[in-house]
């Protein structure tokens, strides 16, 4: 029973990180209709920035997190402006390849700057833990903070997209860009804003991810990025609650297959579940089904 609870807690914590990354994917996809393959690498950049501020500049952890968010937000906007904006009218494949190019660029630039040696990332929230049930159940502070951060981000994003002017503009753009433009919405600025928010989320996810795993290499972001992307599709891409649900479910499935079924095959099982879900519900768990019209 206790192992079950321990697994559940670590599953939810891992899932929360996936959910935060998936939110970035899903928002960008919802508006720009592009698979931003470079998103995973923005996570890595965020983690490196936080790592540098704490270990080289010896600044407190919370400063490093803010610094990482600022740098990643700027990075996201710059990437969007330089690489994606000129391709607004181009086909989706051209944008996809450009995103892959950006992803290669970030990984290799990180390798040049920070070398490919593994960096030991000290958790930004300390290594403390809470013991429950006479010490049978241990929950790390990192896990608690991750889940809390995920919930706060979810609530904030939901409020943002439903109440603020910019949030409404985003939803309008994702519905119909042409009509949004006719209503006086600056589509380009809205898309830049989406990238900024997505990248800020990526920075937070990067710091949280590395706080749980404590290692950092230039390809740290790639696999979580891919998994979070599948989580976004799993929950229904373009849907904010879908990203949360998909992320958490994916995290739980991953941790449970790791400990109960087979650690070697966990990736196959995670992706297998995704395929089954998509075959049964082609638009994801919470995605809107849009029938094709002639």
């Amino acid at each position: 029973m206790m192992t079950f609870l321990t697994n559940l807690v670590s599953g939810i914590s891992l899932g929360s990180v996936y959910a935060i990354i998936a939110l970035g994917y899903t928002m960008v996809y919802g508006i720009a209709k592009m698979l931003n393959f470079a998103h995973g690498d923005v996570i890595m950049v965020g983690a490196y920035i936080s790592f540098c501020t704490t270990s080289y500049l010896a600044l407190p952890a919370w400063v490093s997190v803010i610094f990482a968010i600022v740098v990643c937000t700027a990075l996201g906007v710059v990437i969007e402006g330089l690489a994606y904006k000129p391709l607004r009218q181009a086909g989706s494949l051209a944008v996809l390849i450009t995103a892959i190019g950006v992803s290669y660029f970030l990984q290799n630039a990180a390798q040049l700057i920070w070398t490919s040696n593994t960096k030991v990332f000290t958790s930004v929230v300390g290594s403390g833990s809470i013991k429950l049930f006479n010490g049978q159940l241990t929950i790390t502070v990192a896990a608690l903070v991750t889940v809390a951060a995920c919930i706060i981000i979810m609530v904030a994003l939901t409020l943002f997209t439903t109440t603020t002017k910019m949030g409404k503009a985003m939803r309008a753009c994702s519905e119909d860009k042409g009509a949004a433009q006719l209503m006086g919405i600056n589509v380009n600025r809205t898309i830049s804003m989406t990238f900024a928010i997505g990248s800020a989320l990526a920075a937070i996810a990067g710091v949280l991810l590395c706080s749980s795993y404590n290692t950092l290499i230039p390809t740290t972001g790639a696999m979580p990025g891919i998994k979070a992307f599948t989580a976004a599709v799993f929950g229904g891409i373009g849907s904010i609650p879908g990203a949360l649900l998909g992320g958490i479910l994916l995290g739980i499935i991953e941790v449970f297959t790791n400990s109960y079924l087979s650690s070697e095959l966990s990736l196959a099982i995670v992706f297998g579940v995704l395929i089954v879900v998509l075959l049964v519900r082609p638009s994801g768990l919470l995605g809107k089904y849009v029938p094709e019209k002639v």
């Binding site: 996809y29 698979l35 393959f37 690489a83 000129p86 391709l87 009218q89 181009a90 494949l93 051209a94 996809l96 390849i97 450009t98 892959i100 190019g101 950006v102 290669y104 660029f105 290799n108 630039a109 390798q111 040049l112 891919i226 992307f229 599948t230 599709v233 891409i237 087979s262 070697e264 095959l265 990736l267 196959a268 992706f271 297998g272 995704l274 395929i275 998509l278 075959l279 082609p282 638009s283 094709e292 002639v294």
Partner: protein
């Protein structure tokens, strides 16, 4: 001369493509004969052939059939591993390495085709980005499963195990060793074999594309509902393109696997699939000779930039982004349009 003029555009393009490949082969053979190629370039020849076949077959899926597939390397890995098993287990029986390589490639193609059917039947129910993510997932699943396979051969025949490294062999040779991939494989791939495989792939793909089935596949790509309404069996034709591509990727994988003494399954993860997709998109969707040139050029490029060492992958990334930006720039397109008066093939404008 008038005969050449009256030829259809597609026939001309096909002849040009075959001529390109044969000329390239002859030039490289001549250079090899005079010892004018460095060792590292020589080592690249077989991988280049493999990547050309990968790009051609993926172009059939992405360019001709219009489905974005991100798991093409998965079929390559199936081919590489089944090819290695076939080649090593036949070592005693079939003396000629060339024949053994041919059998290995056929085996790789057959098993990859089976994998193509298994993946394609469920995956092709989806479209667009969902199809892309499901193929990516399938590609990762294939690689993950291969990481758990152990195989070996001894006097009693082939031994297979899943998840358990102990094969219970007597004096046997291990062939596949879980995450390590293929082990102790005799390298039997040759540049000529690669050239033949490229020609066969071209023959298969160009004939398929220019046939009745090929036109049906393109009709499905251009408008699925319209194609369905004139009686085209959409699933059948999508699957036909997908499985053909998977089989060719399997053959390329067998050639690739037998070019190295050891290849790990991780080599075939989504990064490899994406690399091939880059070749296809840069070469031009549906443009076969474009795929050939892009695959060859981009495989040599990192090698040619050895002088830059640390910066080469960075330069590669920047080149990739700039090429995508330049080819989609309206001003540049207009300029090129004025320089090149009018292209005959209206199909190229897609």
């Amino acid at each position: 001369m008038s005969k050449l003029k009256n030829m259809k555009q597609t026939t001309k393009t096909s002849i040009f493509t075959y001529a390109l490949v044969i000329a390239a082969y002859l030039v490289i053979q001549a250079l090899l004969g005079r010892g004018m190629l460095s060792r590292s370039t020589q080592g690249q020849l077989v991988p280049i052939c493999c990547y050309i076949v990968m790009a051609l077959s993926l172009n059939l899926v992405v360019g001709v059939s219009g489905e974005l597939s991100l798991g093409h390397a998965g079929f390559m890995s199936v081919g590489a591993f089944s090819g290695a098993v076939a080649a090593v287990s036949l070592e005693g029986m079939v003396g000629s390495p060339a024949l053994r390589l041919a059998i290995a490639m056929v085996a790789g193609a057959a098993l990859a085709a089976v994998a193509g059917v298994i993946v394609g039947v469920p995956a092709l129910r989806l479209q667009g980005d969902y199809l892309a993510i499901v193929t990516l997932a399938f590609g990762q699943i294939i690689v993950n499963i291969l990481q758990c396979v152990y195989a070996g051969v001894d006097g009693g025949g082939l031994h297979f195990n899943f998840l358990d490294p102990e094969l219970h062999m007597t004096n046997g040779t291990p062939i596949i060793s879980g995450p390590k991939g293929t082990v102790s494989v005799t390298k039997i791939s040759s540049f000529t074999a690669g050239f033949v495989l490229v020609l066969i792939s071209l023959f298969v793909i160009l004939n398929l594309v220019n046939s009745r089935s090929g036109r049906a596949i393109m009709a499905v790509r251009d408008n699925r509902i319209a194609a369905e309404s004139v009686g085209i069996n959409v699933t059948k034709y999508r699957l036909m393109a997908f499985v053909t591509a998977a089989a060719l990727a399997g053959a390329a994988g067998a050639l690739y696997g037998l070019n190295y003494s050891s290849v790990a399954p991780v080599k075939f993860d989504y990064n490899q699939s994406i690399l091939v997709l880059v070749f296809v998109v840069l070469g031009g969707l549906g443009n076969m000779w474009g795929s050939i040139i892009a695959a060859a050029f981009l495989t040599i490029l990192p090698e040619a930039m050895r002088g830059f060492e640390d910066y080469r992958m960075l330069v590669y990334a920047i080149v990739l982004i700039l090429v995508m930006l330049a080819t989609n720039n309206d001003n540049l397109k207009a300029l090129l349009g004025r320089l090149i008066p009018r292209r005959k093939g209206a199909a190229d404008n897609g």
